[in-house]
Amino acid sequence: MTTYDLTIPVSEQEIRALHVGDTVYLSGVMTTGRDAAHKYLIENFIHTDSVPENERALYNELRRILHEGVIYHCGPVVQQDEEGEWRFVAAGPTTSIREEPYEADVITHFGMRGVIGKGGMGPGTLQACREQGAVYFHAMGGAASLIANAVKEVVDVHKKEEFGVPEAFWIIRVERFPVVVTMDTHGQSIHAEVKEKSQSALKRLVTDG
């Protein structure tokens, strides 16, 4: 288990050097995106023949941010000051598995290097990670005040009115955002390992009982 400091955009070489259990401090610009965002990305940009005209500007911005970048599964608590500037008050990860039907396509389409969330993801995402050169970064669930301290600036926000505060794309600049690699480019997943062990423990516990 090694500790790394990585800056977004992250190169393929840097990502392929990571292994499950490694601690990473991420810095740079990323976007949040969760349930509504993933559905939107798939419907408007990925499973479509042409990107709708009125969504093109956002598409181009997201392509720029997500190329060799990361998406953060997070619905933050935010506050706006008198000048209209947004600030992240609390910003831990949300459960990632809900995005499993979409994530592999999103990673591949945008050429991403990682996903930040909690609880891990499934085989589809793991395979996309291996092929594309991306990893799953696990942030600490519920450590919202702590993670908000790593968010140094809210650069922009998209779809806030349409999706609501938790579901919007918040473009943020982070400094030393602490995460642990739990799914890597080598096909390893801590989540699959732990599940396999607990499954056999369960079998034992309900047989002995």
């Binding site: 008050v89 609390a90 609880g119 669930g141 519920g142 450590a143 609501g164 009982g209």
Partner: protein, 289 residues
């Protein structure tokens, strides 16, 4: 009736930002059981650091400030209509102050109301009781752990779970195994045996208000709670599902009457951030615990 809106804002603030002492103590104890330098120990260290920071800054422990679930116990003659209005005003104000994330989403349009008020939102349960004071229990129940809650009906053949406490033990273990780290382990379980489908979950969540170190007054339930605490941790799912010694740090079970045809086991999984606070009002004096 005096206006308690400000007191409700304070109740919400405490629940969202100040983790109850017994929960924090349990997390500290859990940390001592994990191997130094392990992912599980690191997770608990981060969690505890965050708890202290949230308390010091009055910022939410978790950004998912959950569904505000109020259990209101009121003396005879108190207007529940007025209480509802004041609680709703308190919730909206707490949202404006960023103690709560706007979480109420219209299920048809997807529109977020922006102030945590909506149809049947927040959740309010009223009950008149014999005491001469008002007690309001608030649970902020996050969505990650709510999603891994589950209701079984016994018998449950896949686990050979029959209509007895051994059957209950089996399905609870199954639920915790299915949850893995997705409910933000380590968690606390509130469990209702019996009742109907609707009240099963209401009672299960009521169980979450019991202090972690209390002992169930019903001896067979006390034994089951202890056994389940041990067995759940044998699953070794650990903090955040990273693997480790503590998967569950509290099991609270209530038994309720049921229909002859039905035997439900309703399991409310709560994440480590078990955000529950109680407010009492007697002769105009407001207290929180």
């Amino acid at each position: 009736m005096s206006d308690l809106t400000k007191s409700f804002v304070e109740l919400v603030r405490r629940a969202a930002t100040d983790l109850p002492a017994d929960v924090e103590t349990a997390l500290r104890e859990a940390q001592t059981r994990e191997e130094n330098g392990s992912a599980a120990a690191g997770a608990l260290e981060t969690i505890l650091e965050n708890v202290a920071l949230a308390r010091a800054n009055s910022t939410p422990i978790c950004q998912d400030t959950g569904t505000p679930i109020f259990y209101v116990y009121h003396p005879q003659g108190m207007s529940t209509r007025e209480l509802r209005t004041q609680i709703e005003a308190g919730v909206a104000e707490a949202t404006a102050r960023a103690y709560l994330r706007p979480n109420a989403v219209d299920s048809l349009t997807g529109h977020n109301s922006g102030n945590n008020l909506g149809v049947g939102y927040p959740t309010l349960h009223f009950e008149e009781w014999d005491e001469d004071y008002l007690q309001v229990n608030l649970l902020l129940k996050g969505g990650g752990s709510e999603n891994v809650g589950v209701q079984y009906k016994l018998p449950h053949p896949p686990l050979k779970a029959g209509r007895d406490l051994e059957g209950v033990r089996r399905v609870v273990l199954d639920a915790v195994n299915d949850a893995q780290g997705k409910g933000c382990a380590p968690g606390v379980l509130g469990i209702a045996i019996g009742s109907d489908r609707g009240y099963g979950y209401i009672h299960a969540k009521e169980q979450l208000f019991r202090p972690l170190d209390d002992v169930n007054p019903t001896p067979e339930l006390a034994r089951l709670e202890e056994r389940l605490l041990h067995d759940c941790n044998e699953l070794s799912i650990g903090p955040m599902g990273f693997g480790g010694q503590t998967t569950i740090f509290g099991v609270k079970i209530g038994a309720y009457h049921r229909l002859p045809a039905c035997y439900f086991v309703s399991i409310a999984y709560n994440c480590w951030a078990c955000r529950r606070w109680t407010m009492t009002v007697q002769n105009g004096k407001v207290e929180y615990r």
